[in-house]
Subunit: 205 residues, 2 copies
C-alpha cells in the first residue's frame, strides 16, 4: 500500500486552489512557488513539496501555468465534478449557507434543506423548499447524497449525525459546537467561530 499523503498537505490544497483561481481572475497565466508562497504566507519549499506528492506540475525556470495547476488541483481534490449536499437545520446559519454563492461555483450544490420545526417545513428558500426532517433518510438514499452540512443545535447534533450516517452519509461539515462520535471512515470537519475567537483573545491583552 502506497503511503498516504499527509492530511495536512491535503488540507492546504483547497487554499492553493482558491488563490490560484484568484490569480487567474487577475489575468496571471504563470506563477511560481515563490509568488504563491508570498501570497499565502507559506514557504515556497513547502508548496513545491506539497505538490510533489501528486506529480510534477511545473517547469524549471518558468514556474507553474496557472490554469493547468488549477485543473490538476481540481482533479486531485475531486472538485472537477458536481457534489450533492444536503443541509440539515433550517436556522439563520442554514439560511446563509443556502444563499451563499460560493458553493455553486465549486460544484458544491445544496439540493435539499431539512428541519423538524413545523413552522419551517414548507418554507420556500430560494429554489428549495424546507422539508420534514423525518424524510431525510429517503432523500439521501434516493439522491445518493454523501455530504451533509449540519447546522442543528448542539443538543441534537449527535443523534442527527447518527441518523445521517445510518442513511449512508459519508462526510459531515459540522457547525454544531460539539465533537461528533462516528464510525471510522466517516469524515467530519468542524467550524466553530467561538473556537477561532477564543484562540485570538488568548493573544490579546
Amino acid at each position: 500500500m502506497r503511503k498516504d499523503v499527509p492530511k495536512i498537505v491535503v488540507a492546504r490544497l483547497p487554499v492553493y486552489l482558491r488563490d490560484l483561481s484568484q490569480l487567474r481572475d487577475e489575468g496571471k497565466e504563470v506563477t511560481s512557488s515563490q509568488e504563491l508562497g508570498k501570497r499565502l504566507g507559506i514557504s515556497p519549499a513547502q508548496i513545491r513539496k506539497d505538490l510533489s506528492h501528486f506529480g510534477e506540475f511545473g517547469k524549471q525556470g518558468t514556474g507553474y501555468n496557472v490554469s493547468y495547476l488549477i485543473e490538476q488541483l481540481r482533479r486531485i481534490l475531486h472538485a472537477d465534478r458536481n457534489w450533492k449536499i444536503i443541509l440539515v437545520g433550517a436556522g439563520d446559519l442554514g439560511h446563509a449557507m443556502v444563499h451563499y454563492t460560493g458553493f455553486r461555483k465549486q460544484g458544491l450544490h445544496i439540493i435539499g434543506v431539512f428541519d423538524n420545526d413545523p413552522q419551517k417545513i414548507g418554507q420556500r428558500w430560494g429554489e428549495l423548499t424546507v422539508m420534514d426532517a423525518s424524510t431525510i433518510e429517503d432523500f439521501i438514499q434516493k439522491e445518493n447524497v454523501r455530504i451533509v452540512i449540519l447546522a442543528v443545535p448542539a443538543k441534537v447534533a449527535q443523534q442527527v449525525a447518527d441518523r445521517l450516517v445510518n442513511a449512508g452519509i459519508r462526510a459531515i461539515l459540522n457547525y454544531a459546537p460539539i465533537v461528533l462520535h462516528l464510525p471510522n471512515g466517516i469524515l467530519v470537519e468542524y467550524i466553530d467561530p467561538v473556537v477561532h475567537l477564543q484562540y485570538m483573545t488568548y493573544f490579546l491583552e
Copy 2:
C-alpha cells in the same frame, strides 16, 4: 524571554473548554485526561502535555475538577471577560452571526454592524441597527473595539481589512475566501466552508 506556548496548543484549548462545559452541563464534577481524550479524539498524553504549559490543574489518582479547569482555561484564554466585536458586512452570513446565541455566553458581544449598502443601513437587526460603513473608524475608536468579524465580499475584503487595522483593530475573523495581507501582530483566523468541503471530497470517490 520565556518560550512561547506553541500556537497549535493554544488552538486546542477552546475545544477543551467547550467540551468541559458540556461535561459540566451533564453534571460531571470530575474528569480525567483519559475521559477527555476519548471524548475529543485526542490522546490523554497530549491533553496533559498541553495543560502542563500553563500550570498544574489536576490531582494524581483522581483527575481534574471540571469547574476548576473550566475556570482556569477561561482565564488563560481571556474568555473570563467581555469582548466587544463588530461585524462588517450585513449579508446573510452577517445576519446569522448577529443572531447566533453561542457568542454571548462566551462573553463575545457583537456591538455594531456595518455595511455600505444604503438599502441595509438603518435596518434593525435584533438590538442593533446596521450602520454606515463610513463610520466604522469612529466607532472602533470610540468603543475601543479590537475584534472584527469580516463578512464582506472577497473583492473588497483586503481594502476593508486595511481600513480596520488602521483604525486600531487587532484581530480579524475572516469569512471572505482570500488570504489577507496585514502587518505583523494582527491576528487573522479564516473560516471558509469550501476549503473544508474540498478537503473531504478528496477522500470521497
